[in-house]
């Protein structure tokens, strides 16, 4: 919380009022400067542009402008058939492509009403949880960079590299996998994959702890993030927040638990919410903590999956259940899954005649989370603005689609 003196000649006065709340008074006595932040700026995580009205270091108002990475996903989706959309989905949230594919396939499978082989479900959950860890590592690392700490970023990327090579081994690609297909998966795990995943888990546990010591327990880091960008739970729900953002505001809401899909009901995991001891519930630090804890939970989910996963029978083909021609009955569906950034939903309309969807709307989690930016940035300092953008963890590929 910024403590600024109550000066007479400021056009914006920010006075502390209770815990983590400020009162902002404005008058017209001085000039505000318009500061254009982005689309090329180190901490807008891509091509977000913020038009900030600033009064000295205080941001009076920040208006986000989107669309610099708009690649017409929804228009493309109406032009290609259902399996052909999967690679486009990859390119939306390129940091968590597996999870995005998962969400899309769940939606289409709901429309098709088909059974998925049990082993494929495990494959899907394992790869998407691995990808969740990778995505959270990027989120935490770039957040550290936003706050000026460079080393945690490289630690995160070093560990992410192991996940990338695991997923590369499974799917053949490092970032944009096209691995989860409608009704199946493109390949079964190669031999020895389970052992390598096990090795990764034993390797990563101490590294996650090291990261926590280096960053999360750092006094400066806590000072920079605690009480910054507060979002009460009810407002967060009203803004449609989801994922770590919503859990950071103290709402115990996880689609894996609350709207279960795939094999998540069989798995034992915790929905991480901040306890209020280490952070103020709803601030940037809470959101960071939720991500940090979630990596642990994902590790344990992967371990459980490896234990329970049915062994591949002779001649097991993950593509076996894939329909020859994907042409759903006429109908509409809203399918969704828990992405590292929140709820990724697909609203798909099929006319029953064509192999292409009539409408495929992607409800992107970052897009919705970012919509609260304007309100959260009011009266913050420029460094806090950066801390808030970082805590939202946007991927502009998903925001602009």
């Amino acid at each position: 919380m910024q403590e600024l003196p109550k000066a007479e000649h400021r056009s914006v006065r920010v006075t502390p009022n209770g815990k983590n709340r400020v009162v902002i008074e404005k008058d017209l006595s001085s000039e505000e400067m318009i500061l254009n932040m982005g689309p090329q700026h180190p901490s807008t995580h891509g091509v977000l542009r913020l038009e900030c009205k600033t009064d000295g270091e205080v941001v009076v108002e920040a208006e986000p402008y989107l669309g610099y990475l708009h690649r017409c996903f929804e228009k493309h989706a109406e032009m290609v058939d259902y399996p052909g959309i999967v690679p486009f989905v990859d390119r939306m949230d390129y940091l968590a492509a597996m999870n995005s594919e998962f969400a899309y396939c769940i939606a289409v499978e709901k429309l098709l009403d088909i059974e998925i082989p049990r082993r494929v479900e495990f494959l899907r959950v394992i790869v998407s949880e691995l990808n969740r860890i990778a995505s959270h590592l990027v989120a935490i690392g770039t957040y550290a960079i936003d706050l000026g700490a460079f080393t945690p970023f490289l630690f995160c990327f070093r560990d992410r590299e192991h996940i990338m090579s695991l997923l590369e081994w499974a799917s053949g690609a490092r970032m944009l996998y096209n691995y989860i297909w409608i009704g199946g998966a493109s390949y079964d795990f190669p031999k020895g994959m389970q052992k390598r995943i096990d090795e990764f888990i034993t390797y990563f546990r101490p590294k996650a702890l090291e990261l926590q010591r280096l960053l999360t327990e750092n006094e400066i880091f806590v000072k920079r993030t605690r009480g910054i960008g507060m979002m009460p739970a009810d407002v967060a729900v009203n803004y449609g927040w989801s994922g770590p953002m919503l859990r950071g505001s103290g709402v115990e809401w996880d689609l894996r638990r609350n709207d279960p899909y795939s094999i998540y009901p069989e798995l034992d995991f915790k929905v991480c919410v901040p306890d209020g001891r280490h952070s103020d519930i709803g601030d940037s630090l809470s959101r960071h903590l939720v991500r940090a804890y979630e990596m642990e939970e994902s590790l344990s989910i992967i371990e459980q999956c490896l234990d329970k996963m049915p062994a591949a029978e002779e001649g097991f083909n993950p593509r076996a259940a894939i329909p020859k021609r994907i042409r759903p009955k006429a109908g509409e569906v809203y399918g969704r899954a828990e992405n590292p950034r929140g709820e990724l939903g697909f609203y798909i309309v099929s006319d029953g005649k064509s192999t292409k969807p009539v409408r495929c709307k992607a409800r992107s989690s970052c897009f919705v989370n970012l919509s609260a930016m304007k309100e959260m940035s009011m009266g913050q300092l420029i460094p806090d603005l950066v801390a808030i953008i970082g805590s939202i963890d946007i991927v502009l590929g998903e925001v602009d689609r």
Binding site: H41, P42, F150, N218, I220, K223, P383
Partner: protein, 367 residues
């Protein structure tokens, strides 16, 4: 001495003898010796910034971050910095259309001159000092403040809002941190009873090596030592106080618009002042060019490691040690916020500096 056979001017071990002799050296009536004296720190800054400053920092940060650092140019990437310099030299020298050309060009110059001029009073060993002023320390603190002018000129002249923010932050920061830094240094001056940089070193001489350093002579000296170290981080805009050039907030702060050699000059100035504050802290608290090794019986380690060349080695090593600390901190800590930075300065460092000041005075009177 062997060296005297090859050196054109008479050499001795006595205080300032090399620099005094050099300054007397005229060629065709021109004071060429003075030029040589001035050139030595310049060459030193350039060499040190190239080797330890840039290459060393990259390798040290790479070590801390579990990666290799530059590996391509030359063995272990040793020639990387030369390649960088070559690249910077070839770059187009861009001045924005709307920039204030005079300020834009003059800014990096003032910055560099500011950090370079302080080297005049740095004692490079017992026999060499640019100018043994009787107010050397005072001069060093004062001349560093010149950097503020350079930063403001660069930031304002760029006609860029980010640069302006960087410049304003930087000025506020440097001016504020001058106060705890100056008071902390004043504690050292009180212990020594002089402002001459060479006298500082002589007072900390002795056969027990490091035990004669002010830091170990006086338990209170630790307080101004730490205060000065923290304040010097802020004065040189190093992390965690690098908010004037906070790359994630202000793009690059006051040098956002600079490229090519002007950028390199700003870089050199930063590394120059890094060494400068590190040398000042070594002179005032850690014996400057004195050897930290004690004489132990017949092993006269202190005597063996004392001399003009040894002295230069010691002060440079001590300076490099503090620069290493600065790098270590930079690659470990996140950045403070502007208001937290000012909080640290005015509500923590300055009161403690005053406390240290009073305690040192009491100690000096009664102990």
């Amino acid at each position: 001495m062997m060296l005297s056979n090859y050196f054109p001017i008479p050499m001795s071990m006595s205080l300032n003898s090399w620099s005094d002799a050099l300054s007397q050296w005229y060629l065709f009536g021109l004071p060429l010796g003075l030029v040589v004296i001035a050139a030595i720190p310049l060459v030193f800054i350039a060499l040190y910034a190239l080797t330890y400053g840039v290459y060393g920092e990259r390798k040290i940060s790479a070590f801390m971050q579990d990666r290799l650092g530059p590996m391509e140019v030359g063995k272990w990437g040793i020639l990387q910095t030369l390649a960088d310099i070559l690249k910077l030299l070839q770059k187009e020298d861009i001045v924005n259309t709307n920039a204030d050309k005079f300020l834009f060009v003059v800014g990096p110059g003032i910055l560099f001159v500011g950090s370079f001029m302080a080297f005049a009073v740095l004692p490079f060993g017992p026999a060499f000092i640019g100018a043994d002023l009787n107010v050397g320390l005072f001069y060093a603190i004062g001349i560093v403040a010149l950097e503020v002018v350079g930063i403001l000129a660069a930031g304002w002249g760029s006609n860029n809002k980010w640069a302006l923010y960087g410049a304003i932050r930087s000025v506020a920061q440097i001016v504020s941190y001058e106060i705890p830094a100056a008071i902390a240094i004043l504690c050292g001056a009180m212990m020594a009873g002089t402002l001459s940089m060479q006298q500082f070193n002589i007072l900390q001489q002795g056969e027990y090596g490091f035990l004669h350093f002010f830091l170990f002579q006086n338990p209170i000296a630790w307080l101004p030592f730490i205060i000065y170290f923290i304040a010097s981080l802020a004065e040189t805009n190093r992390a965690p106080f690098d908010i004037p050039e906070a790359e994630s907030e202000l793009v690059a702060g006051y040098f956002t618009e600079y490229s090519g050699m002007k950028f390199a000059v700003i870089f050199l100035a930063e590394y120059g002042s890094m060494f400068m504050v590190s040398a000042i802290i070594s002179v005032v608290f850690l014996g400057g060019w004195n050897s930290p090794l004690p004489n132990i019986g017949s092993f006269a380690l202190n005597d063996w490691t004392t001399g003009p060349v040894w002295g230069a080695a010691w002060i440079i090593l001590k300076g490099f040690f503090f620069i290493f600390l600065q790098m270590w901190l930079r690659w470990t800590l996140p950045r403070l916020r502007v208001d937290q930075l000012m909080y640290v300065c005015w509500k923590v460092l300055t009161p403690f500096a005053f406390v240290a000041f009073v305690l040192t005075a009491v100690w000096e009177i009664y102990m």
